[in-house]
């Protein structure tokens, strides 16, 4: 038994030692020593090196130690680290998981660290997404919405009028479907140009909640009576995030799922399998993507004229919001400094500079008037959608589970499963998980 205990003790030493290693010996400039904060982030995502450098310059007694993982492994990595005795101080994660992490006690509520009026300045969708039981767990860094990109040359050739730029003139899905059909070239097994590009999100298969659940939610109405199924369809989960039965599988949601399925199986205007860069390679007339897609088209000219039109809708316009964000781990041994890092990067000049340099959608309403590009086409479409139509993916303390189960259900519906049966199955599987 003694060797086993010795081995375990040896394994425990590095974890215990790191707390002391976080602070260097005192110097004249830093009498308490230089503190190293540990940050876990997904690759190619903020905070970018210039943001870290700017923070370290403003806070010379704090040094950031960055660990990166591929975005696809981030949630698993956080799960494992959260359970460990020595998690990072700050973590960059996917915003819709905020309630999950908050309910599990992983994240530290940041209300007491935020400047006065911060919550009032937050974009409504961000405030909902990053709050749990009245407390804010992340200040947010950026927001996203989807809009419909089109190949203007192909549309002109197909005789399709230029799609609208104004939200109040947005296409319905029926109008969009007509355009997809007119623009598609070839049919059956010989399609050369698809009406709508396949999803590039998630596993690049149909069904990713961020992109595809709005096909169902748009059949709902947030202004309908609260007990009606049309109201529940819009939200897709009960306000407390604990009930999917009767919210996810309403008759209106089934109607939306049937339309969604028709795109793949009846109208056949979009493929079931992914095609990398389908839009850029002129293999699709339209694609649903975020404002980040603009930079790719500007920096790597695809060789055709392109444009953006607001997200089509059926009954109620809706776009999903959410992006990566940052929070402070509740187990951090340096909560105040970690919270300072999170808040400093998300407020004031740093937030403004981030929006200006990266051309992202800010989470603070006060930043919008200061960035001229956000008032101009095409970014203004994304900004207006965020403020007028934006709604988080169904908020729940079990969002990760909701996301997985609903994504699988929508994928199966796209592949041909009966919409009602499959949504009922998803709601049945989800219910015991949500109500735990």
């Amino acid at each position: 038994m003694r060797p086993l205990l010795l081995a375990l003790a040896l394994l425990a030493i590095p974890a215990a030692a790191r707390a002391d290693d976080d602070v260097s010996a005192p110097t004249a400039a830093c009498p308490k020593g230089v503190l190293t904060l540990h940050l876990l982030k997904p690759q190619n995502n903020p905070p970018f090196p210039w943001q870290i450098t700017a923070f370290e310059k403003d806070n010379p007694c704090i040094k950031m130690d960055i660990a990166e993982v591929p975005f696809g492994q981030l949630a698993d990595k956080i799960s494992v680290l959260a359970a460990s005795g020595n998690p990072p101080d700050v973590v960059v994660y996917d915003g819709p998981n905020t309630q999950t992490y908050a309910a599990s006690g992983i994240l530290l509520p940041l209300d007491s660290y935020l400047p006065a009026g911060f919550k009032d300045d937050l974009v409504p969708a961000t405030l909902i997404e990053h709050s749990y039981e009245g407390k804010l767990y992340s200040p947010g860094t950026q927001q996203t919405t989807l809009a419909l990109f089109y190949n203007a040359d192909m549309l002109e050739k197909a005789g399709i009028p230029t799609p609208p730029r104004e939200l109040n003139k947005a296409w319905t899905w029926a109008q969009a479907m007509d355009a997809f059909k007119k623009c598609q070239q070839g049919e059956g097994d010989n399609v050369t140009v698809w009406g709508l590009a396949p999803s590039r999100f998630g596993a690049a298969t149909p069904g990713f909640v961020y992109r595809d659940l709005p096909f169902l939610r748009t059949y709902g109405d947030p202004n309908a009576p609260v007990e009606s199924s049309v109201y529940k369809t819009y939200f897709a989960v009960a306000p407390d995030g604990k009930t999917a039965q009767g919210w996810l599988n309403t008759p209106e949601a089934v109607e939306g799922a049937t339309f969604f399925q028709g795109m793949f199986n009846t109208a056949k205007i979009t493929p079931k399998a992914g095609i990398p860069n389908a839009f850029q390679d002129k293999k699709a007339c339209f694609t649903l993507d975020t404002s980040y897609f603009i930079a790719g088209l500007v920096n790597n000219d695809p060789g055709f004229k392109w444009g953006v039109t607001p997200m089509p809708y059926a009954k109620t316009p809706i776009v999903h919001t959410g992006s990566i964000t940052l929070g402070v781990m509740a187990k951090s041994r340096h909560k105040d400094e970690a919270a300072k890092f999170a808040v400093d990067l998300s407020t004031g000049k740093a937030a403004e500079e981030f929006a200006r340099v990266q051309r992202i959608l800010p989470v603070l309403k006060s930043v919008y008037p200061k960035i001229p590009e956000l008032q101009q086409y095409p970014l203004n479409i994304f900004a207006q959608q965020l403020l007028q139509w934006g709604h988080p993916r169904p908020p729940s303390a079990k969002f990760a589970q909701y996301d997985k189960i609903v994504t699988d259900a929508l994928r199966d519906i796209a592949y041909g499963a009966d919409p009602k049966t499959r949504l009922d199955q998803a709601a049945r599987t989800l219910q015991p998980i949500l109500s735990r």
Partner: protein
């Protein structure tokens, strides 16, 4: 002796038996990986769920159906290939290497490659079907075709391993036994049925058990090719356990599935060894 075996037994205890004991313990609790300290003892509730939940029942059926499909296709194919390679064949070593090559290729690489091959729009298999005038198939996006497609991939991947094992079994059968049967008037089919196959029993047991275990452990195909779909038809248990533990945050339930799975695999292996045990010695 104790000093020699001690370190190995210690490692075995720490890295094999202790995790199994932890798994059995966890299967009696309801908790999340995000906060494992907050756990509730639920007695055998997780096991009840394993036996009554339609999704779990489907995962068991799909996994064992897959294993049966792999064994049923790999064993005869590998035996025939081995019999062919056992003859006088020029460049036999080269052919054997070619047959064996997929075995040493990473499962992830193979799954990725076959995803491209079976792609419905531009995949090589569908292009070949179109070229000979046959209709394109949905393969991995079809509820009916996804599992057979993965069995086909496993057949391609695992046949080499089984072939090499059968070949070694065939080459160890004494030539005089076959000669004696020939002198007694046995034709080729009779020699195969009454001499070769019985004497290959030990090899067959080993190959069947190995193929069964490999198939039951399959994880890369659903992870990379299908995500367990369409409609759960490729939701193999190893992938289901991973999904339950990490995506759905139900490690207690995942542990219960693992315990049941482990016991069933153990029972199947014992049964296979008993049914296929060698009754001959040479």
């Amino acid at each position: 002796m104790a000093a020699f075996l001690g370190p190995f037994l210690l490692l075995l205890a720490v890295f094999q038996y202790w995790p199994v004991a932890q798994m059995v313990r966890d299967s009696l609790y309801d908790f999340e990986l995000l906060n494992p300290g907050l756990r509730k003892f639920v007695w055998l509730e997780n096991y009840l769920y394993v036996f009554t939940d339609p999704d779990r029942q489907q995962a068991f059926l799909v996994t064992f159906g897959f294993a049966a499909g792999v064994v049923a296709t790999v064993i005869p194919t590998a035996f025939l290939l081995a019999a062919y390679l056992n003859g006088r064949l020029p460049a036999r070593a080269v052919v054997r290497t070619i047959v064996f090559l997929p075995v040493v290729t990473s499962a992830v690489v193979i799954a990725t490659m076959w995803t491209f091959l079976l792609e419905p729009n531009n995949g090589l298999v569908n292009s070949a079907l179109s070229a000979i005038g046959l209709p394109r198939l949905a393969f991995l996006t079809s509820k009916a075709q996804a599992l057979p497609s993965i069995i086909l991939m496993m057949l391609w991947q695992q046949t080499g391993f089984a072939t090499v094992l059968f070949l070694s079994g065939l080459q160890s059968i004494p030539a005089e036994v076959e000669e004696a049967a020939s002198i007694d008037g046995a034709n080729t089919a009779q020699r195969l049925w009454h001499v070769t196959l019985p004497l290959l029993a030990r090899t067959t047991v080993f190959v069947v058990v190995m193929m069964t275990v490999f198939s039951l452990q399959a994880f890369a195909p659903p992870l990379i090719m299908t995500g367990g779909g369409p409609e759960g038809t490729t939701n193999f248990l190893a992938f289901d356990i991973y999904t339950l533990a990490f995506n759905l945050q139900q490690p207690g339930l995942a542990s219960a599935v693992s315990v049941v799975f482990m016991l069933v695999v153990l029972a199947i292996s014992l049964l296979q060894m008993r049914l296929l045990r060698a009754r001959w010695n040479y």
